[in-house]
Symmetry: C2
DNA sequence: ATATTTGTTCGTAATTTAACGAACAACAAT
DNA sequence: ATTGTTGTTCGTTAAATTACGAACAAATAT
């Protein structure tokens, strides 16, 4: 798969962010974080009707996509938006959608 | 407690569009269509280093997500952006990213 | 009538995603 | 030292995704 020749890095980056946002739970989390920038994983577990292990997986994906980062506040973990990458995603989608 | 009770329709819709855009090939196609609104499937086959059957699958997904629609211009098929849904997606991401 | 062009569908295979409960690790509180 | 809280990791399962070539269908061109 030599997509690299035709598809630009920008398109690949945008697709990567889109993929991370392509699930209702992850969209919910990012929607929340875009408004308050931080939240506790425990709060999400209470709100969302999914197993904590499932939530953990979704948070991991958002982390790997670079959209969030976790800060340890024992015994809790505070999840915050990754401002730098969030700004990048913002810019990418802004351009993509001609906003 | 179902997902439907916590996660809004807006979030689900946005996630659905995001998912459709979450692949480099589909991002490439939509990026093109956002600029010229229509294109021939055959042109894409030439440009992209993937089998035509694979491309067909990706186009089908974009169609099912409501982002594009095909018009028969025998023997070719002209793919066009679905303006109504594209506008919706634009709006959804605009709100989501606070643009 | 036959061949060509165009794109979808079929059959298949490998990989990824999504979900759960159980087990585990880290740390606080008792 | 033991208990409780919090969240990750493990093991498993089912379903979806991605990809390909071959076969097919529809329409045009020869």
């Amino acid at each position: 798969m030599k997509i690299s020749s035709v598809i630009t890095d920008t398109q690949k980056k945008t697709a990567r962010y889109a993929k991370a946002l392509g699930h209702p739970v992850r969209m919910y989390v990012m929607d929340l974080l875009s408004k308050q920038s931080c939240c506790y994983s425990g709060d999400l577990t209470e709100e969302l009707p999914i197993a904590k292990s499932t939530l953990s997986q979704h948070l991991k994906e958002l982390k790997e996509a670079g959209l969030i980062q976790g800060e340890i506040e024992s015994p809790k973990i505070k999840y915050c938006i990754n401002k730098e990458n969030w700004a990048e995603a913002q810019q990418l989608f802004k351009s993509f959608f001609n906003l």
